[in-house]
């Protein structure tokens, strides 16, 4: 079985975001980029599935040359092949999903893993968009995954519990934290990854469905009041919450 894992290259979650001069993107100066945290769970699940059932795992990433770093990291974790869908533009979720769907189709992958969302734009829709474009089934925000024959069972997180969802291959699974414990790349893995060839393919340009108008900073809150340093401040706190904020 051919398994695809789609990853994105995102600013580390500890990043302090600054808006760039164009007011449409973030200033990348001093920002360190990493493999999207949710995609780490996707890579791990793809590798575990391969270890159980055999096959090949192919990592796919859409973006500029910098995404190669993230592809290499996935290769170092044990992924077999890498495909870089190259574009100089910042694509919307629909264009990213289309590029992924086209590639997954040409590779003939029946099972696809990706993170439930990228921690940059936080759209959380690329997995299902890709699946629908391919005509595949999909289960999003999975914390467990099981494959038996062609039957896929996964638990997805919902408000106040979990749903047990059943469907069948071909299928896209989006990973939530808790799905597994991603492995570290071994030294051997890192050395092998350096030698692997990453296939590069251009992504055609299309007018954006979701037009980027502006990126801006949220209005900063005025710092509040420190009411005291021990429990003697509690009555005042309760009074404020009850009478001023009216939230209790």
């Amino acid at each position: 079985m051919k398994i695809a894992v789609c990853v994105s290259h995102v600013p580390d979650t500890a990043t302090r975001v600054k808006i760039a001069g164009d007011q449409k993107s973030i200033d990348p100066t001093g920002v360190s980029f990493v493999l999207n945290p949710y995609d780490e769970f996707a890579v791990e699940e793809a590798l575990k599935t391969k270890e159980k059932f055999g096959g090949d795992v192919i990592v796919i990433s859409v973006g500029g040359d910098q995404v190669k770093e993230t592809i290499r990291k996935s290769l170092a974790m044990g992924v077999d092949e890498g495909v870089h869908l190259k574009t100089g533009e910042v694509l919307d979720s629909f264009a990213i999903a289309q590029a992924l769907a086209d590639e997954i189709k040409s590779l003939g992958c029946e099972l696809v893993f990706m993170g439930k969302q990228s921690v940059d734009y936080d759209n959380g829709i690329v997995g299902q968009l890709t699946a629908e474009m391919l005509g595949y089934n999909s289960i999003s925000v999975c914390v467990t995954f099981q494959l038996e024959g062609t039957t896929v069972t996964a638990e997805r997180e919902i408000e106040g519990g979990k749903e047990i969802v059943e469907t069948s291959l071909p299928c896209v699974i989006t990973a939530q934290k808790g799905l597994n414990d991603p492995r570290y790349a071994s030294l051997k893995g890192i050395m092998t990854a350096k030698k692997k060839v990453i296939q590069e393919k251009p992504v055609g340009s299309k007018p954006a469905l979701v037009e980027n108008l502006q990126l801006k900073m949220p209005v900063a809150k005025n710092p509040g009041r420190i009411l005291g340093t021990d429990s003697s401040a509690v009555p005042e706190l309760v009074k404020l919450l009850h009478e001023e904020a009216k939230v209790i």
Partner: protein, 323 residues
Amino acid sequence: MEKKILAILEQRDGKIKKSSFETLSVAQHFASSLEMTVDAVVIGEKIENASDVFSYCNCNLVHFTHTDLQLYSSSAYKKIVVEYASQQGSEFILISNTSLGKDLAPRIAIGLNAGLVSDCTALNLNEKEIIATRPVYAGKALHEVKLNSQVKMYSLRPNVFKAVQLENKAEEKISTVAVENPDLSNRVKEIKRSEGKLDVAEADIIVSGGRGVKGPEHFVLIEKLAEQLGAAVGASRAVVDAGWRPHEDQVGQTGKTVSPSLYIACGISGAIQHLAGMSSSKYIVAINKDKDAPIFTVADYGIAGDLFEILPVLTEEIKKLKS
């Protein structure tokens, strides 16, 4: 032809959810401003509170019913909504960005050839064009976008838009459609509930604990306060990673983004990932020993002291207030 808005509602256990009333209020607002009419759909076997819909919106409600559709089926729900919206020629489609909405919205968007903006926290009209605002980088920045598609779909972050009751309840226009042979190729078999637990994503009040709680056994202090307030218990990433609390309790960039009316952070220093996930809460209280902790920069009220001494007193005071 009359222009139409479609509001997709969600039921759980036969009850339309609060977040769906928020969606209806947004639909009502745009219907008035843009002279459009509203259709609403809800899918499920039985709906107990369908009549409440008309307290929020003047609309035609269609209830699609089938015994196998009480639990969510992405394949069946998608097909029903796509067919209905195509028939109606709906131009704007609204849904709440709950876990069901998150899963369903992109499927419908593809089915209708629509553009989708997910997790909107504001929709503003600019010359009859909708400008959507959504938090990115877990709320560290805001993105303003517009859709260039014919059919436009927006999913709305729960707890952000207000459910506003109409002055006079609208006329009840409900039709029930029995679904034939729903496509159950992708379906929920069962729901495992976390018994008696309120979810941080839905709670109006959250009491969260961080490293300052010093161990899983001391979370009982947080739980007692939460119980008095009818609040959910949240946690910082540090304590989830340490295994003190389950992942579903985590608030922050790799956990849940929340916007309750009141967020009480106990023993949480306020790492940027955590602040990103909770700073849009309406009121924030911080209780932390270190007066220089970043959590105080977003807090409305703070006590810079020992939570082990403060929390029992706070719990007691709330109890007094409630009685």
